[in-house]
């Protein structure tokens, strides 16, 4: 019996103690007519060795690709130490740190995480994580609505240049609470959120404006202009940023005159493997004055009975286990282990290492894009500074190109046609510091050959 330690003799001894004849007896409160069904479609158990066979085989099927897709998930270098430590049993197999005294490892780490994220965003406070970037945006919108007491509209302006999946997920999360997400178009030449379109809403009651940096196209938004617009219109700002990029780009706390109110996003670039899209972690930072509206766990530094410093969950009165239906969010289990990895990752890189990774990544992207755009018929779509990825347009059908290159194990980018048909045959392509020059050349060569043929 895998993972069950009981010997037959022990089972007998336990049943005797209980005063039951069989294990089956212990289920005698369950109505008998609920007990007949078959599990035949579930396979027989296998020893670890056989499951390992199976998983190796399946993993092999998805292996050995040259992947140039970014679109919200980025393949950066992760030091070996990160996951060797994060998967230590004491981190890996602990529960949420409710018993503070028995969880100082996790608690101190989370406090350090909060400190690092606050610094990276240049914001006052951080929570200890949300599920992922997209759902964090949903939570940020709900938080803005709670925090912006003067605004009654529940209207949120969301640029169309924001990741489509983020817009969809945020909508799914907030739509049942009569919140309206209003789409703001982007300028077709620059790919930036249109300040002209925004001006339509000037003077009206808007609860918050969402600003992505970089936006889904990799394009750098005019974050100062957008934030100032919000400041002038009594609108809160929600920054959705790539945290690694913030090691080199102006962070949300410095946008406009007073900085963004809330910063959130996807923590994945900070030491989390691609892993088919998850588990990643959503981060959220905010200004001090709205900390009590923040969802999720928060760790505080305090002292013990002897006056020795220690850490514990704090501001729990915001949370569902105390406040139930009046909580700031329903979130309970968050993404602790991912934050553990990210904290170790950030410690190993430091500000300098993060900046070098970001710049190195951007550099590889420039090499890729300059190679691709030198191909006859391939063009860079937007006339704007970008970070780490860019939209290119192809002279022929997107899908055909993607399929042909995939046959050579080159995954050539994210197909924008479905979400942005107005962009024509456009691909979002990305390279990071991890891409070898050979891999980048292969892509350029294959695309060149394909388009020449």
């Amino acid at each position: 019996m895998p993972f069950i330690p009981h010997t037959e003799e022990e089972v007998r001894q336990m049943l005797d103690a209980i005063g039951a004849n069989s294990i089956e007896d212990l289920f005698d409160e369950i109505p008998a007519d609920l007990r007949s069904f078959s599990l035949d479609k579930i396979p027989e158990g296998l020893p670890e060795m056989e499951v390992a066979h199976l998983m190796h085989e399946r993993a092999r099927k998805d292996s050995n690709v040259h992947c140039f897709i970014g679109a919200g998930a980025y393949d950066h270098h992760i030091p070996s130490a990160v996951w060797e430590i994060a998967t230590r049993g004491e981190f890996y197999s602990a529960y949420t740190p409710y018993q503070a005294e028995a969880s100082q490892g996790t608690l101190q780490l989370l406090y350090e995480y909060q400190s690092m994220m606050s610094a990276l965003m240049d914001m006052d406070v951080s929570n200890a994580s949300l599920y992922d970037g997209a759902s964090a945006l949903g939570e940020a919108i709900l938080m803005a609505i709670r925090a912006h007491r003067k605004s009654k509209s529940k209207k949120i302006l969301v640029p169309k240049s924001l990741h489509p999946a983020y817009r969809q997920a945020a909508n799914a999360i907030v739509k049942n609470q009569d919140i309206e997400l209003i789409e703001i178009p982007f300028e077709s030449a620059t790919g930036k959120t249109s300040l002209a379109a925004l001006s339509e809403y000037a003077g009206t009651d808007i609860t918050a404006l969402v600003i992505g940096q970089p936006n889904f196209f990799g394009v750098l938004e005019d974050v100062d202009g957008l934030t100032r617009w919000a400041e002038e219109n009594n609108t809160m700002t929600i920054a959705v940023v790539n945290p690694l990029a913030m090691s080199v780009l102006k962070p949300p706390g410095q946008w406009g005159d007073n900085g963004a109110d809330i910063a959130c996003g996807e923590g994945q670039p900070l030491g989390i493997p691609l892993s088919s899209g998850g588990p990643y972690f959503g981060f959220m930072c905010a200004t001090q004055k709205i900390v009590r509206q923040m969802p999720g766990r928060i760790i505080g530094r305090t002292v013990d009975l002897d006056g020795k410093p220690g850490f514990s969950l704090t501001l729990q009165a915001r949370e569902q286990h105390i406040r139930r239906s009046k909580a700031t969010s329903n979130i309970c289990t968050n993404q602790g282990l991912m934050v553990t990895a990210a904290t170790i990752h950030m410690s190993l890189l430091g500000a300098e290492g993060l900046a070098r990774a970001a710049a190195g990544s951007h550099d590889k992207h420039r090499k890729l894009v300059s190679g691709l755009s030198a191909i006859e018929g391939v063009e860079v779509k937007f006339d704007s500074p970008v970070f780490n990825e860019a939209v290119i347009s192809l002279p022929v059908d997107n899908a055909t190109v993607l399929e042909a290159l995939a046959a050579d194990n080159v995954l050539a980018g994210f197909d924008l046609k479905k979400d942005y048909p107005e962009l024509g045959n456009a691909l979002l392509v990305c390279a990071t510091e991890k891409h070898s020059a050979a891999s980048i050349d292969l892509f350029i060569e294959k695309l060149g050959a394909l388009l020449a043929s």
Binding site: M1, M14, I30, G105, S347
Partner: protein, 483 residues
Amino acid sequence: MLIFEQSSKGRVAHAQSPATKASLDDLPADMLRETPPLMPEVSEMQAVRHYTRLSQKNFSIDTHFYPLGSCTMKYNPRACNSLSMLPGLVDRHPYAPDSHSQGFLSCMHDLQEILKEVTGMKAVSLSPMAGAQGEFAGVAMIKAYHESRGDMARNEIIVPDAAHGTNPASAVMCGYKIQEIPTRDDGDIDVDALKEVLGPQTAGIMLTNPSTVGVFERRIQEIAALVHEAGGLLYYDGANLNAILGKVRPGDMGFDVIHMNLHKTFSTPHGGGGPGAGPVGVSERLEPFLPIPMIDYDGTNYRFITADDRPQSIGRLSAFAGNAGILLRAYIYARLLGRQGMTRVAEYSTLNANYMLKKMKAAGFEAAYPDRRATHEFIITLRKEAKDLGVNAMDFAKRLLDYGVHAPTTYFPLLVPECFLIEPTETESIDALDNFVEAMIKIREEAETGADRVKGAPYTLPVRRLDDVKAARELDIAWKPAE
């Protein structure tokens, strides 16, 4: 000492980043960061040493018995971790084309099928990222269902007083009002009270079975009939699925929608606070509303089911496909257990809980529901000890830490005074259970000779009892360098 306090200005772990910083000269200066963030500046070894040592300050399943009720802290097989991190899986991009994803997609599809079978539901979506998000998805589906029928008046969700806090919080996020109903002294729901609150405003009811008081709701079929008659739907909070896995299925009890906590029942690690995975399963009528993406199989190829296939879907809850790596771990676990092994999960977790309950009672501790079978967990109340000896449940909990045992869940559910919700799980041996009971007896003996020793606990941990009031009043939640 904090990692920040080990920093030295200019120290860099040079193996971990490119040797030089590449130029960003194509970016306008006013978009760049002027001063670097205040991050730790430590060597690789300092980071490794710091976090290795921090880890040692935790209790965990790999180091301690952890009978935390409602949390199912059982052994997390190490193979689930290592096999889910194989190259090809750990580095698969979420937008890799189906042609290069058949390995991953087949695992996800098989997991959907296994979860359907073992819960008795018609269809499963794996995308919710934890139990609470599963609850949200479930209630959102209930809402979408009523609305799709033009039935707009249903604005209430019924929740028992013993329910987990996420239940009402999730329902509220879906725009519902909460109707609370009481639990009877025998642990079952008060069906008369239920009848009273049922009506045309009822959208549904959220239940767990076994409930959070550790007993099986015996009148579940009657309750299902009543709710359905009133036009409401039944939501099953799967946090306690471990108790009945392979023994009885929520679908057969009459539930319309359920979530599962794979980080409990399917033994994916809890990671010091997640990540989890909260797949949802539904009966036929809710299938169109399931959150995307899901995985389809046409007999040859696996592919993602998207919004195009499911126009009525409540939508997507994450940027990609949920906590994929956690789902892989659950899949590996499911294959290790197989059909038989799943049934044994319920059997032996129930055996362990009933054995412990019996021993606790024999030792003179008071069971909250003395006439009921324990399920995979049970409640004792320490109100007698609190009154007679002046040591409450929290004191017992803290002192248990000194005995090398993680405390059970305390003060939840709220309706039982001075309660311990104890869940040993199936992976613990009889020795661990006996040890726990002995520790409890010893602590009571200590308390009998004076409350102070117990109230001062713990003594052997990295810190003694922490000042939570100070933590909240003098909020220090991000380190700042001393001026």
